[in-house]
Symmetry: C2
Subunit: 321 residues, 2 copies
Amino acid sequence: MHTFEQLTELFGNYFSAQQLPTLPKNLYDPCRYFLQLGGKRIRPVFCLMGNELFGEIHEDAYKVGTAIELFHNFTLIHDDIMDEADLRRGKPTVHTKYGNTAALLSGDVMMIKAYQYLENIQTEYLKNILHLFNKTAVEVCEGQQLDMDYAQDNRIDLYDYIKMIELKTSVLLAASLEMGAIIGGASEGSSKHLYAFGKNLGIAFQIQDDYLDAFGDAAKFGKEIGGDIKQNKKTALLIRALEVATDAQKLKLNDAMNNNADNKVETVIQLFRECGVPEWAKALKEEYLNKAMYHLEEVAVQSSRKKHLKDIAAFLIQRDY
Amino acid sequence: MHTFEQLTELFGNYFSAQQLPTLPKNLYDPCRYFLQLGGKRIRPVFCLMGNELFGEIHEDAYKVGTAIELFHNFTLIHDDIMDEADLRRGKPTVHTKYGNTAALLSGDVMMIKAYQYLENIQTEYLKNILHLFNKTAVEVCEGQQLDMDYAQDNRIDLYDYIKMIELKTSVLLAASLEMGAIIGGASEGSSKHLYAFGKNLGIAFQIQDDYLDAFGDAAKFGKEIGGDIKQNKKTALLIRALEVATDAQKLKLNDAMNNNADNKVETVIQLFRECGVPEWAKALKEEYLNKAMYHLEEVAVQSSRKKHLKDIAAFLIQRDY
């Protein structure tokens, strides 16, 4: 069996050998530009890991992984248009470099290209894979819509927020693992447990991401602290703080959010601390991580085969901060 | 066997009974709005006709027809954003009514919904249908890109133009017929001839559309005369005129196009006439119609079964003007 790093390299080799057409240039150049910006390829590697949990990696797992990665990149290109984001992975987004029209149509064709990778997998699994792929793709769109809706809605609670991140990011991680499992010949029960592992791991990861924005070590985190706070982003932390704050704390929090003073980030972090938000967030993350690990235990293969998945879960969800 | 009109009604009943989810409202309301604007549903009806040419209509033809119609509507929603079109079927376009972001994401989800209709067809045909659907969908995107590229390129010739309309509109008509034929159990040879019938018919139809813009009877045509001319649209007529015009005529033509005088439409139409464009366009249309009819003849079923397809071809490509 292979480690996450080994599979990342194997998938990277396969993926970079795939060719997009050359013409029309204005359609495919933006696709090529975006794909070569890189990315961690976590989703396709999860697909390979899901397959290998149950047996030798079949070529179909590479095809499905490619479909997943193309789909994921399509959503990023279109999300960047919707969010009017200028940079992605430190480079100009597609619409910034090529214009909105090019980004729109290049995203569209990338999504169809994703489906082209599915058409050649073994007939035996085609229907199941296509079903899960479609269901997940719809959910990702719904998650993106909820994310945009929630930005303008002050009544959302933690339940709404978790549902949104589940759709927007977790289900694709979960489905990547399950599609690999299907190709590996897993039983339906084991496939569903693996899906639940991925879904809960994804939620734990997002909660961690919210936590690190306020309480992370900037050097380790690799991002500036307080980016979400500056934008008044409705993270798990902010939702929790507004839920448990006293009236006086609520007043201070809203005041800090509205006034954008120089010490905004420090003020909000201080209020988070007063409201017990960091401890709460750590406990919530643990809760989802525990759920994830429970479902991994339930997958019916020898424990030794699960080692690499446990390792990557531990790597993604760090406990040492 | 059923006439085109009967199948339009049958498909309309099936299609309107399909339900989109209610939530998220901001995602699905724009989809519902656009689908209820109507449209002739030619493509799904072609799919039913392609099936019935070879046998009883199978429920799968309705599913595939729905996938085709959803895909077609997805392209219209996104094309309208790209073309900054305010109206479609006399009503506000999706982006005009709901904004660009909503139109973008609603189009995306509509396309995935299209693929959901494919996942439940008989396994036996799934791979072939998915292959043709994907190939065609990519071509439609490429056609849209070429259409936008050509608007800014003065060197395109008739060959480029025909290739563009083939991709942008004809291949989907052709594939609709062929997918129906596949479901009907047609041989590969007959399927390909039916595809070629649809492709050439689509090109003939587009050339007729260009012709009618300048030389049609406004009352019969249902559109204002000269819409393409006002926009300096590169139609088959304009490309031909610029190809055969004398230097003096070319000067007049370019002058009329650049100056947008009150009599622009009349001036350009007069120049088209001087260059023999109307006779040429009619002959070109006939040429593609004849190709289409040749391929229909080659489909290996009794001639009597082809009657309704001949009727609809005659209806779409009128000769009495």
